[in-house]
Assembly symmetry: C2
Homo-oligomer: 190 residues x 2
């Protein structure tokens, strides 16, 4: 998606060789119209899959997931990172290590919101080592649902997560895939 | 908003006399079309205020905030509950006690995303004791921005937060306000 690549080039900030900060339109401030265009792009790419639910994990994935779900006319379910007092039902769960936060979190989805009848599109903002996507795919498997694939806004290809998961047979569609980066340089995959 | 009251009556689950679970359309599963109607309702109620930014806090507020921002054609900024490795800039911050999670969190907004030029509409899913809204209003004040008011999906009026904040001069628009509840009974304010 050329618009996204341009925004990353113009507004993105590379820290070291592994952290890309896109807080101006995705991770802290959100550009709603742009997010809606991304959502429509995901919906189009997965239009033949008969998706019944969009699955993401709080918090940065929610806006894009909602945009994709609007275009697909299906609900979003967002996995929670921390149980609230209101969570009482039976849960699907997976352990996810966050390299950004350097800690493990236990993500959960209440069983009533995902079933074996569902065809699930996972949406997330970033794919780096693949931990979050792996955890979400694991939850889809626990539900006995069919995984249509994953729509990722920014794939950091050099961190290897996408390759591993594609080898496992997961269809991954990224709107922008980065092969290499360092401060001042971002090289996108073709 | 009658549609919301009906959904709360039909799908909401009251736990004790203070917790309302609306996970089927707002807090865990999201009904995107319904969320968009809520967003348009907020945009309409605050249409005369010249809002330049919608402010919320991760995670459950993001979807409704995005819907309101889309209708108002302005960006969303969501306050973070935990600093990420990517947060390096100068921050506005406030301490917020969550009764649902029974812990204090430190919410932050990077200074570059909120300025004294902004007119801010705060959006959140719930208003109970008013802790989150108070923290967000505090951040707006730190930025020197003008607070247009707060759009709240569900106000739990019996918990007193809204009354206190209205006395402080904050305009609060709730789509549904609950005066009393217990399992099987939800009494809305007129």
């Amino acid at each position: 998606m050329q618009e996204l690549k341009d925004r990353i080039k113009n507004d993105g900030q590379v820290i070291g060789t592994s952290i890309l900060k896109v807080d101006s339109f995705l991770n802290h401030q959100i550009d709603p119209e742009f997010i809606m265009r991304m959502g429509r792009e995901f919906a189009q790419r997965f239009s033949a899959e008969g998706v019944t639910k969009v699955l993401t994990v709080e918090a940065s994935g929610i806006a894009v997931a909602m945009a994709a779900a609007l275009a697909l006319k299906v609900p979003v379910v967002f996995a929670k990172k921390k149980p609230a007092l209101t969570q009482q039902g039976a849960l699907y769960s997976a352990e996810v290590y966050s390299f950004t936060r350097q800690e493990s979190v236990h993500i959960t989805v209440e069983k009533q919101y995902l079933s074996s009848q569902d065809v699930v599109l996972i949406i997330d903002d970033f794919l780096a080592h693949g931990e979050a996507l792996c955890g979400l795919a694991c939850i889809v498997k626990q539900a006995g649902a069919r995984l249509a694939g994953a729509g990722i806004v920014i794939e950091k290809r050099f961190q290897g997560g996408a390759e591993k998961l594609r080898e496992d047979g997961i269809r991954i569609e990224s709107l922008a895939a980065i092969e290499y980066m360092e401060p001042g340089i971002i090289k996108f995959a073709e």
